[in-house]
Symmetry: C2
Subunit: 519 residues, 2 copies
């Protein structure tokens, strides 16, 4: 257990007490040297999806003369899941996979060339920080899918992270929280924890009120991963004037705030709320479309055409979303739950967020509808060979967190179907015991009786019906989970003798009639 395993299988033993000691000395002398160069010292806490790339973006920031503004220590825990990131980053390699060509460039540039980024496991690194950027994980728990109203947030690990910072930082160090937190967290959780640690250390909190700011990221893993941090709008707030001032200075140095202006809100509650509201808005609009998808299926309408026609009307309905297999990822599935939980747990309110939370429930259970329409077309799934195309939660991305395919897979397994799964981007599926994912489509499709287009990866959208049917070696039932097939392709499948069904695609019956008529 005293080692950490990277996704490529490499094992990294945990540091020894001796290495611990050495590391502190390295951090000390490095920080002092860097400060002499006129650079401020930033510690990014959490080397995950957001933190590692944020650390690189900060380390990459330059002033008008092309000089680095900050030296960055990337920090993570000595744990089986996280520790490997430290040596990987320090070797100049990114700890994340992405389509974005900037990712494999920015890490070696900052680590080896500019020498402005170094990762460390040592918790005393905060001693040297002028600015701490918090990017540690904070999850919402749901007792079961469909019980989002009972969802809660366990803040213990997060509080412990804050305590680690409070134990070491200089009193005038800025703590900038980027983690998506329940509204109220900066003021009601972070501030008292830091204050307690300051008091224990004999720091007068009246004279040195903790400098806490909040600014949420809007990272999209994908082809514009780095850009989604650096070249994107930010909302921020400070727990006091000085914290807000320092946060603004930092964000202005690091991000392209000229083209993507930052926006200050008057209270940390407000910017914390903004983030979860953004995602609640999205989650709700997906859930809304799902009920209309079911109506569309029943009354012979192609919902996607309807949405497209509405959007011709510019401006007023551009944010309409669409139904699909389901909603995954790390934000939309939990952010409404964080806010709903905070209303009661942090503010003692009865008045909560029923719509946003019910949207999470609807979205979490959405994959069951795909099973329903499959069973309508094919009543017994026992021993049926089903090929599922797509494992990630989003098209053209390898991220499998909270992927709706998982629920589909689990429930089809319960029905004793024989399932094969393919994804062009996902190597292993961590949420399903690190299952290896097939990359040879013809193997996945071989002998399949049902083919589920679950995710809109580019190669799936490019697939010719003839090739699919040929790879299956039979005429499978084709299931389109979110308008991945054009009407032309659907008609081709039907002509080839396949049955086709789809979420929100009630017009397929009419296409069938059209073909019958033509024949």
């Amino acid at each position: 257990m005293s080692l950490s395993v990277a996704p490529d299988g490499t094992e990294y033993p945990f540091p020894t007490p001796e290495e611990d000691k050495q590391e502190f000395e390295i951090l000390k002398s490095l920080s002092e040297e860097e400060r002499k160069k006129g650079r401020k010292i930033v510690v990014v806490q959490g080397m995950g999806f957001v933190g590692s790339v944020m650390a690189a973006v900060v380390a990459d920031a330059e002033d008008k003369n092309g000089e680095p503004v900050y030296f960055v220590h990337g920090n993570d825990l000595v744990s089986r899941r996280s520790y490997w990131k430290i040596p990987v980053i320090n070797s100049g390699k990114p700890p994340v996979n992405a389509d974005d060509p900037e990712i494999p460039e920015i890490f070696p540039r900052c680590v080896n060339k500019k020498k402005t980024l170094r990762a460390t496991w040592h918790p005393k690194v905060f001693t040297f920080a002028d600015i701490v950027v918090v990017d540690i994980q904070l999850d919402a728990q749901k007792p079961e899918l469909g019980q989002a109203e009972e969802g809660y947030c366990d803040l213990n690990a997060f509080k412990e992270g804050m305590r680690t910072i409070g134990r070491s930082i200089k009193p005038e160090c800025l703590i900038l929280i980027e983690t998506t937190v329940p509204p109220g967290t900066s003021e009601k959780i972070v501030k008292p924890v830091i204050g307690e640690e300051f008091t224990k250390r004999g720091i007068d909190v009246e004279k040195f009120p903790p400098l806490i700011a909040h600014s949420y990221e809007r990272v999209m893993p994908g082809s514009k991963y780095v850009s989604s941090i650096r070249n994107y709008w930010r909302t921020f707030s400070g727990i006091n004037e000085k914290a807000a001032y320092l946060a603004e200075e930092f964000l202005t140095n690091v991000l392209d705030t000229e083209h993507f202006p930052i926006c200050r809100l008057g209270h940390t509650n407000a910017s914390e709320m903004a983030k979860v509201l953004e995602n609640s808005y999205r989650a709700t609009n997906i859930a809304l479309m799902f009920e209309w998808a079911k109506l569309a299926e029943n009354i012979g309408v192609n919902l996607f055409d309807v949405i497209k026609s509405i959007k011709v009307r510019e401006g007023t309905h551009d944010n309409m979303l669409r139904p699909s297999l389901g909603v995954g990822g790390y934000c939309l599935t939990k952010d409404p739950v964080l806010a709903n939980w905070a209303a009661e747990a942090l503010f003692g309110l009865e008045n909560k967020l029923p719509m946003a939370v019910s949207a999470v429930n609807i979205n979490d259970l959405m994959p069951m509808h795909t099973i329903e329409i499959i069973e309508e077309a094919c009543p017994s799934l026992q021993d049926k060979r089903i090929a599922i195309l797509g494992v990630s939660y989003l098209q053209n991305v390898a991220d499998t967190r909270h992927s709706p395919t998982k629920l589909l897979w689990e429930h089809l397994m319960e029905k004793d179907a024989i399932i094969s799964v393919h994804d062009p981007l996902v190597e292993v599926w961590p949420e399903l015991g690190y299952m290896r994912i097939e990359k040879d489509l013809s193997k996945t499709l071989f002998d399949a009786e049902i083919v589920v287009f679950a995710v809109g990866h580019k190669p799936y959208k490019a697939l010719a019906p003839e090739d699919v049917v040929q790879m299956c070696g039979r005429k499978p039932l084709i299931v389109d989970c979110s308008n991945f097939l054009t009407d032309e392709k659907i008609m081709k499948y039907i002509e080839l003798g396949c049955n086709v069904i789809g979420v929100g695609k009630g017009h397929i019956k009419q296409l069938k009639k059209k073909i019958k008529k033509a024949l």
Copy 2:
């Protein structure tokens, strides 16, 4: 009872049987003459908010040579509520009030100058039509506010309107339905009714299938009333190819389809669904914001600032809406109900639209929240003098249909408050027994203890706090229902000794502290 009263009080006696006969002869010779000029004959059924202006827009349409394309008969019923519109239109005056300067121009232009528009009560006018445009009213009924799931649509009057058309039209006449109808109406209601009438008249419906098309309007009464018909995008569909073709030809002749392309959908169910989905989207997004408004109020956040900051992020959240006193008007309060009702009544589905319908309930009852926050600040409303600013359902518009101020008024009345009501645009309030609305603000505000900014009319937004306080002659409680007051104004009111509260404006407490500190 045999007369109709216009809003200005003028009385119009119903036509005599003799006038009826004469009218038919006029319609006949006029239609024949116009057809000789190469013009097609259009009958617009329903001279309400949409139909009357649509009739004018059609009558105003010109070909490349500047020649009118259509002659238009505007048709409405001989009823107390509607008949007055016929003589009013025929005198060259608009039957609607609006900010739009085009409105008082287009009616005299078409009626007197171009002579392409004439209104008639005669039900046999359809005999002469090449195209019938249906703009008659179709309401949803709710047993009570908050019971939208029990809402239903009484189609009898609408069916009777269709029957009137079917009794007279030529078999090759296009019926273009613009009324917002429950999805399924064109196919399941209009088609069989017209078919029955055709059969009664000995017309072979196999040879002459009824030509029914659907294209919904997106009229916004206000400063761009005419433009919202002519220069706006349209979705349409036909019950068969020929109907779709004729509808496209008509819409292209009448609307600016070059700059605002029209979009055809494959089925009348689809375009009927598009309209109610558009409005369900809006209704749902308002309802969502309302639950966040209540949270914002409780945790010290200005929701409107939060929304503004989120929208800095371009493209993804531009359609976020906002909470207010409530949602009124003719569309958002009923369209989700029409769709929900149709799912069961026209398609026999159990699977309905819970989110959209619950949004209607939330929105319908939203005014109760304003009363709640007033009562929190001022526990007993008995004999309290309350001034309500704004009666219409929308800012800068005189339309009072389903105005949320009505519910506010009724419930404050129940609490024995003494209420005065003002609106700069509304003359009388039809939904409250044609009550005359005060236009002198100082009279409304005199001695008021509570001032409710209910609607965002321009003059209200321009009001200086000093003037309001002076007109009241005391320091009233100020209630801001939807961000009509800037922070500067709120602070001014507080400095003047007023208390201020607002929907979604939890930050007012902080403003109060700020002022206390400054004093």
